[in-house]
């Protein structure tokens, strides 16, 4: 594992870490000017991070807001608003030194006060994900206006991963203090420290951002502005990028089946990188309380009936890759040596025979209900594929269509037998993997351990990895946990998802980090 405390200190010591972006852009002189036209799908309700953290909000608001750090594709921290940082030997004290001359869009300077307010009050109140982690902070102090010192109650190695813009953006204390954070006037006209400032939002039409003249990096950003167009129909979005009306699409803008056609366009680049920080992993969601799903042999057999290459190649047209274990390969502590059993229908049938699940006269061993994920056509196709795969081993899936709200409610209330789900991992298994498998997180809430899997040894290993300050120790615990999980298959992992970012070749430096389109775009430029 490349991430160690020593590595961290070294990164912090270097005055300015050379951005991958700078390396990529070598040979092309960045050019000032031009407006980037792109798309936002679907239209977000509000653009203030923290108040709303849905996908489209993260995409657009990350141009107006920044955090202390961002992360490389291998999840090494890169300085943003923090110029440098130090971690104490016992892993409990973090000291961040802030950049000079950082201004908010309203002209006021950003200081350590704003940073502490953002962490301890703003995100603590608004974001459940941030609250769970920031509660570990014992004290937050500002020895001087450009230094922040955070002391933790116990060492927590993935702590730095929380200082990414989608998890903890820095907001202005002056504009929020003493008000309801959700209804403060600034929420309608977001004010951050990012390279682009909010100008105009015509609902149902477009969001317009403009170059912030007092941005703290001299000479940047290169673009004069960004326009996010709201285009509700997927075929219109495809046409927009094909005809050059927009220069970039991201996230869910383009359907996977349109990707092969766009790959062939000579003026376009199709990127699937830039999701390493999120590393969404999809799986067939299993409710262990429903017989015979409590039997690990049955789950293993179901897993072996699925051809994951078919799913990635035929359904997702090569965007993403087959899952190999509960930790995505782009998340820290993924062990490449630990793999789930491959596609093997015959062995799967033998396993079910051994589990005492005999086929009846129609060749059916068990009938289970299945709720497809109501997030669009491709997920329906996936469930149809799963139904046919399960058929081969005598398990009949009966599909039941529900809308998105009912899906979340049914999963959260454990009112399902099988379904499909995908979850972000946020760079570290403690942040995004643990929650699905530890018995202490069996809750009637979506995205917890809704399946009800419980194994005391797995609980112990995740706890050990959570509290250990040392990366090698954590790796050992995570490897052991992965070994147990691929044997017991608590959820049937399917694919490591990725989303295509498609852009005009004239647009440079688009995907340079592990957060992809969620960087500030201060170094993105349109070549002549």
């Amino acid at each position: 594992m490349a991430f160690s405390r020593r590595g961290l200190m070294a990164a912090a010591g270097a005055p300015v870490l050379m951005r991958v972006a700078d390396a990529l852009a070598q040979g092309i002189q960045p050019r000032r000017g031009g407006i980037l036209q792109t798309i936002l799908t679907p239209e977000p309700p509000i653009l203030q991070l923290g108040v709303n953290n849905q996908g489209p909000t993260l995409v657009a608001a990350s141009k107006m807001f920044q955090s202390l750090l961002t992360f490389s594709p291998t999840l090494e921290p890169i300085p943003v608003l923090a110029k440098s940082w130090e971690v104490s030997g016992d892993g409990r004290e973090y000291v961040f030194r802030l950049q000079d001359n950082v201004k908010f869009h309203d002209g006021t300077p950003m200081t350590a006060d704003d940073v502490i307010f953002s962490i301890m009050r703003f995100h603590m109140e608004l974001a459940p994900r941030a609250r769970a982690i920031f509660q570990m902070i014992d004290s937050a102090t500002a020895p001087d206006p450009l230094t922040v010192r955070l002391t933790l109650k116990q060492p927590f190695q993935p702590f730095l991963l929380m200082f990414e813009v989608t998890a903890c953006c820095i907001v202005s204390k002056r504009l929020f203090d003493g008000q309801d954070f959700r209804t403060a006037p600034t929420v309608q006209r977001p004010v951050g420290t990012g390279p682009f400032r909010f100008v105009e939002w015509q609902r149902g039409n477009f969001v317009r951002l403009e170059r912030f003249e007092e941005y703290w990096k001299p000479g940047q950003p290169y673009l004069d502005g960004i326009i996010y167009r709201i285009v509700p129909d997927s075929q219109s979005r495809r046409l927009a990028i094909e005809t050059g009306q927009v220069q970039m699409t991201q996230a869910n803008d383009i359907e996977p089946f349109d990707v092969p056609g766009l790959r062939q366009r000579p003026n376009l680049t199709v990127e699937t990188k830039g999701w390493e920080y999120f590393s969404p992993l999809s799986w067939m969601e299993i409710n262990h309380r429903v017989a015979p799903l409590g039997d690990p042999r049955v789950r293993r057999a179901m897993s072996m009936a699925i051809d994951r290459n078919f799913i990635t190649n035929r359904l997702w047209f090569g965007v993403g890759k087959p899952a190999t274990n509960p930790i995505a390969s782009t998340t820290r502590f993924h062990d490449t040596a630990v793999k789930i059993a491959g596609h093997d229908v015959r062995t799967a049938n033998q396993l079910l025979d051994a589990a005492g699940l005999r086929p009846n006269a129609q060749g059916i061993r068990a009938t289970l209900k299945h709720i497809p994920l109501p997030y669009g056509e491709i997920w329906t196709r996936l469930s149809e594929y799963l139904r046919q795969s399960m058929r081969q081993i005598g398990i009949q899936l009966e599909m039941e269509s529900v809308d998105a709200g009912s899906w979340a409610r049914r999963i959260g209330n454990w009112e399902y037998e099988t379904s499909v789900n995908f979850v972000y991992q946020y760079g570290d298994p403690t942040l995004g993997v643990e929650r699905t498998y530890v018995s202490s997180n069996i809750q009637r809430v979506t995205f917890t351990n809704t399946g009800g899997y419980a194994n005391p040894r797995v609980d112990e290993l995740f706890l050990a990895a959570r509290s250990a300050a040392d990366a090698t120790e954590r790796q050992r615990a995570f490897t052991d946990a992965q070994k147990i999980l691929v044997e017991e298959v608590p959820q049937i992992w399917l694919t490591e998802l990725a989303f295509p970012t498609i852009h005009d070749k004239k647009l440079n430096n688009v995907i340079t980090t592990g957060v992809g389109v969620h960087t500030s775009f201060d170094d993105v430029f349109l070549a002549g």
């Binding site: 035929r314 056509e377 058929r391 269509s401 529900v402």
Partner: protein, 278 residues
């Protein structure tokens, strides 16, 4: 009967329609023989154009046989059409007959009730019903029946109203026959021809409605239907035209056939009307 058939045969379009309809019925009856495997089986590579890899009409995005889907879908589409029409007739004929025969307050009450249903756009209402009861074959048949009975009630009421004042009905009343018996044995049999014509058109509308619901993703997810095939093919129409074109043709031909047959029936059952038109 021979007379009826002669008059029906005179309308050439109706004969063509009947032939198509018989073919569709044959197809749905022999679907399991022609395509013994489930239409959901992935039989070939995805997106095979028609004629390749033994796929007569090509394969879809999962490599499923479009021809098998159409054959098995015919069964569901016809079944939905027939059952929902029968259910709509049951409601419509009952209410219409009661309203027309009883008259007065009963008639008023029943007709206002019917108008209440007629004021709601029928397809939107069907979507609403299916969404509330969660999509399944039962809820779809129910929704189609609920939105399509009002015209039947209207037509039956009008027929009953005009028959009710005829001499033979009055004669039956004078003879002391019970009202229900008069309605069933004297009035309704004479109102049968418009009902038959109307129901053939209703089957066609029901098939279209079911397809439209499936197209919008509100079909029964466990059943292969024509609407589902088109809905699944729509987004990939630039890659695989055959996925939407062939099921679309199937719907088009079936609905056209039912309409032609309906017209033929109308001509055959109302000979005076037909002659006037000719």
């Amino acid at each position: 009967m021979m007379d009826f058939w002669r008059r029906f045969r005179r309308n050439r379009g109706a004969v063509v329609g009947l032939c198509i309809l018989v073919l569709v019925l044959l197809l749905s009856a022999t679907a399991s023989l022609l395509f013994p495997d489930s239409p959901w089986d992935m039989a070939a590579a995805p997106f095979m154009p028609p004629g390749e890899m033994g796929m007569l009409l090509g394969s879809d995005s999962l490599g499923r046989d479009v021809a098998a889907g159409i054959a098995h879908g015919a069964r569901i589409s016809l079944l939905v059409g027939a059952v929902s029409t029968a259910a709509a007739l049951l409601i419509g004929v009952t209410l219409g007959a009661i309203a027309g025969y009883a008259g007065g307050i009963v008639d008023d009450a029943l007709m206002r009730f019917t108008e209440f249903f007629q004021t709601i756009p029928s397809f939107v209402f069907a979507i609403l019903l299916v969404a509330i009861f969660s999509p399944s074959i039962g809820s779809i048949v129910f929704a189609i029946a609920v939105v399509s009975w009002p015209p039947v009630a209207r037509v039956v009421r009008a027929e009953v109203l005009s028959l009710r004042s005829r001499e033979f009905v009055q004669a039956a009343e004078v003879l002391g026959k019970a009202p229900l018996a008069i309605l069933l044995t004297d009035v309704l049999p004479n109102a049968l021809s418009p009902i038959i014509v109307l129901s053939s058109l209703m089957v066609a509308t029901a098939i279209l409605t079911e397809s439209a619901l499936s197209f919008l993703g509100l079909g029964d997810p466990n059943l292969m239907t024509w609407g589902f095939l088109i809905g699944a093919g729509r987004s990939v129409i630039r890659i695989a035209w055959w996925m939407s074109v062939f099921p679309g043709l199937a719907i088009f031909l079936t609905v056209l056939a039912l309409n032609l047959v309906g017209e033929g029936l109308s001509d055959a059952l109302n000979p005076r009307l037909a002659r006037r038109r000719a």
